[in-house]
């Protein structure tokens, strides 16, 4: 299971600005280790964000998303909304964290 994410979500004029940092190595499958062996690809493939139980954002990542991925998006919502952010990676590892919109 992955490490905790960091989620910031703030409402302004009816729009919630969501910023998410995920802890993940995002191995592209193109890097070599010290002995010259290819490090197998291992990256987050999908991210789902729900607000009050409803999808507000979905992402699919490839190997070219940076290590410790960052996402920023905006949706129409309110203070106090409960956000659930989940990801799954190439090996099927998963992580879900929650935050409350401020």
């Amino acid at each position: 299971m992955g490490d905790p994410m960091r989620i910031r979500a703030a409402e302004n004029n009816g729009v919630v600005d969501v910023k998410i940092l995920m802890k993940h190595d995002m191995e592209s499958g193109q890097r070599k280790d010290a002995s010259g062996k290819l490090i197998p690809a291992w990256f987050i493939t999908m991210v789902n964000v729900k607000a009050q139980g409803k999808d507000v954002f979905n992402a699919e990542f490839g190997s070219a998303v940076s290590k410790d991925p960052f996402l920023n998006f905006k949706y129409k919502g309110s203070k106090g909304d409960k956000l659930l952010v989940s990801w799954i990676d190439l090996r099927g590892d998963k992580r879900t964290d929650e935050a409350t919109v401020s």
């Binding site: 699919e60 799954i88 099927g92 998963k94």
Partner: protein, 150 residues
């Protein structure tokens, strides 16, 4: 800030169970567009997204630096005046052309910001699907060699 972190940690504990139960189901995980992410050229990715070469449009904008100090992390954001259903970021000279794609439900703005890896200086394409049709914008981002190079 600290308060937020504390909250986060509490939630972490509570939601561990939920996470292992999984909010993204295996069935959903299967939907990851393998063909698109394995595309090695713009055309292959366009194809996998179900479009011919999208038309260039001034209604789509990309905010990214002209020069990235480091190719490992290049900030890119895409936004549009149109109501986007889907957004995609493509890097022409990366080993896999498609970097990421996003699905934008009603009520979510036509905007996304993220950070991508670039293997070398390349054209970067921002695609937006609105009203069932893909449109795009592009810009060249220079990747410089950093540090002592060792």
């Amino acid at each position: 800030m600290n308060l937020h972190r504390r909250n986060l940690l509490q939630f972490t504990a509570i939601f561990t169970l939920m996470a292992s139960a999984g909010l993204i189901t295996e069935a959903q995980a299967e939907e990851w567009n393998k063909a698109a992410f394995e595309g090695k050229s713009l055309d292959e990715v366009f194809n996998a997204l179900g479009t011919s070469t999208p038309e260039k449009s001034s209604l789509i904008s990309m905010n990214a630096p002209d020069i990235a100090e480091n190719g490992a992390v290049v900030p890119v954001s895409i936004s549009s005046n149109l109501k986007a259903q889907q957004i995609a970021i493509l890097v022409e000279k990366n080993p896999s052309t498609l970097a990421a794609q996003f699905f934008i439900p009603a009520g979510t703005e036509s905007f996304v910001s993220t950070r991508i890896k670039m293997a070398q200086t390349s054209n970067v394409f921002g695609l937006v699907k609105a009203d069932g049709k893909w449109l795009m914008t592009s810009k060249e981002i220079k990747v410089t060699l950093g540090g002592c190079g060792g």
